[in-house]
Amino acid sequence: MADLSVDICGLSLKNPTMLASGVLDETGKTMASIARAGAGAVVTKSIGREPRQGHGSPCIVELGDSLVNAMGLPNPGIDVFGRELEEAKKAGVPIIGSVFGGGEAEIAEMARLMADAGADAIELNLSCPHAKGFGAEVGSTPERVESICRAARSGLDIPMFAKLTPNTSSIVDLAKAAERGGADAIVAINTLKGMVISPEARMPVLANRFGGLSGPSIRPIGVRCVYEIRGAVKIPIIGVGGIESGNDALEYIMAGASSVQIGTAVWKHGPEVFSKVCEDISEFMNRNGFDRIFEMVGVAHEVKH
């Protein structure tokens, strides 16, 4: 019988699925309901120092089963987020606090504040593609990724993940930099920067014009990124981008991810997607003689063509 539990940097997860940052994770009760629906861990919405409204509307465009969003990092600020975190933790799964900031000092401060608020691990958002001065704007060069990770890591006594952007010439270089800076794991990938124009309106649909593409259409890119990163770093990788089924999760795992995150699929499939993905993985493992998830991590690298 397959055992789906995984250990990520000392965090014990009952299964390898996590809720990805940005989806249904601004309020404690919603996060708890996702956890109860089967997620092994929950990553919070990215939280900053001050309350922030985010971009104007439209902030989302539906494209078949994919989305382009430009929420713009709306969040209530770290000072009041603690009580949402407390509520989320009632569901009994690890809660990973996602934080953003405008530079290494602010991001390091945010990581410490999020740890103080009770998060079980920190995810640094170095990759949001549509918020001026934050996210990918501070995380697009190896130098900055390394210095931010180093600053945030010091004084933090819980695991720290670096979520990286694919909107760069080499995500592998960013991953290596994060590892050098002391990140305990890599999260890959964030959304791909994109734009949707309405020909009838003759203008971009998103109020912010640019947004981030997520959903099944980016999965091959995410899988490729994880595969490349696996060959370049020793720390664990958490794969994210377009996962909707056990098969999709297994692609990431075999590319080298120790666990996966699911976000956009919650839109089409509801919170039940977590238990469904886990059932699929379990069934695959039973059929193929795998007992533990780690036995499958990175196996796609072993095949010689």
Partner: protein, 260 residues
């Protein structure tokens, strides 16, 4: 893959009351009464609106409350407006003798329900609460559908002086009605919910929260772990009574909790 937004031409723009207008769009829509669409006014804003006319043409009945509705109000016949949806869960038209209670612009969401209920041969009584006689919305429409209409106004300029609940609560006491449908200010709905709960009368109410994505992923319209855009906007009384936030708190645009 084309985006799900339909760009529709404005076919008519109607003054309903001094503050409320209906914009009619040249595009058909199939929806449950109480469901909503996201309305995009290019270059201005996108916001959720309940559908006030469902069928071959779609109607949105609105009050100017911000930049988005202001931009919508200056659209002329032939101009384009973007629509995605319908979204959410609407009212379920059931009951032999329903009581419909509307406050503010609540009749926008309730009017298609009243018409649907009358098609089902229900005996419908409607209480419309307005601030003044001039602001009574869709009274003629409800009467044309065959409903009995009772009016209350805050200033007594027409009908009974007072709030919709001042009339609706005593009506409920008579136990003539087997279901209550409402849409209006949250205080009105909590008052009705308390009464319906006490008398064990089923109720369905349309809840409003700040909505951004409209499709159940951004968490901005969260209420006790459910989402107004996907699980609502219409909730049954069993769900409403389980909410600790209904009538008490909501989230602002940053996600901070504020008192209602």
């Amino acid at each position: 893959m084309k985006s799900s937004i339909r760009m529709l031409k404005v076919s008519e723009h109607i003054d309903e009351t001094p503050n409320v207008r209906t914009i009619v769009l040249d595009g058909s829509i199939e929806a449950e009464p109480g469901q909503f669409v996201m309305v995009w006014v290019p270059g201005a804003d996108e916001f959720p609106m309940s559908i006030s006319y469902i069928g071959d043409q779609m109607g949105i009945t609105y009050q100017i409350v911000g930049d988005g509705t202001k931009a919508l109000s200056i659209k002329h016949v032939g101009d384009l407006v973007g629509i995605r949806g319908p979204y959410g869960k609407g009212y379920t038209p059931i009951g032999r003798k329903p009581l419909v209670v509307a406050g503010g612009t609540g009749m926008a969401a309730l009017s298609p329900l009243i018409e649907r209920l009358k098609l089902n041969q229900s005996e419908v009584r409607v209480v419309i609460g307005a601030r003044t006689a001039r602001e009574i919305l869709f009274r003629d429409r409800a009467m044309k559908a065959g409903a009995e209409v009772v009016i209350t106004t805050d200033d007594g300029s027409e009908g009974e002086k007072g709030f919709a609940t001042d009339i609706a609560v005593p009506i409920l006491q008579t136990r003539e009605h087997d279901i209550v449908y409402c849409c209006g200010p949250e205080r009105m709905m909590t008052k009705l919910a308390d009464k319906c709960s006490e008398l064990s009368i089923p109720m369905q109410a349309s809840v409003e929260r700040l909505m951004k994505c409209g499709i159940g992923i951004c968490d901005s319209c969260a209420i006790d772990g459910l989402h107004v855009c996907r699980d609502g906007p219409v909730f049954s009384i069993d769900v409403l009574k389980g909410f600790s936030e209904f009538g008490r708190t909501k989230l602002d645009a940053t996600g901070r909790r504020i008192d209602i």
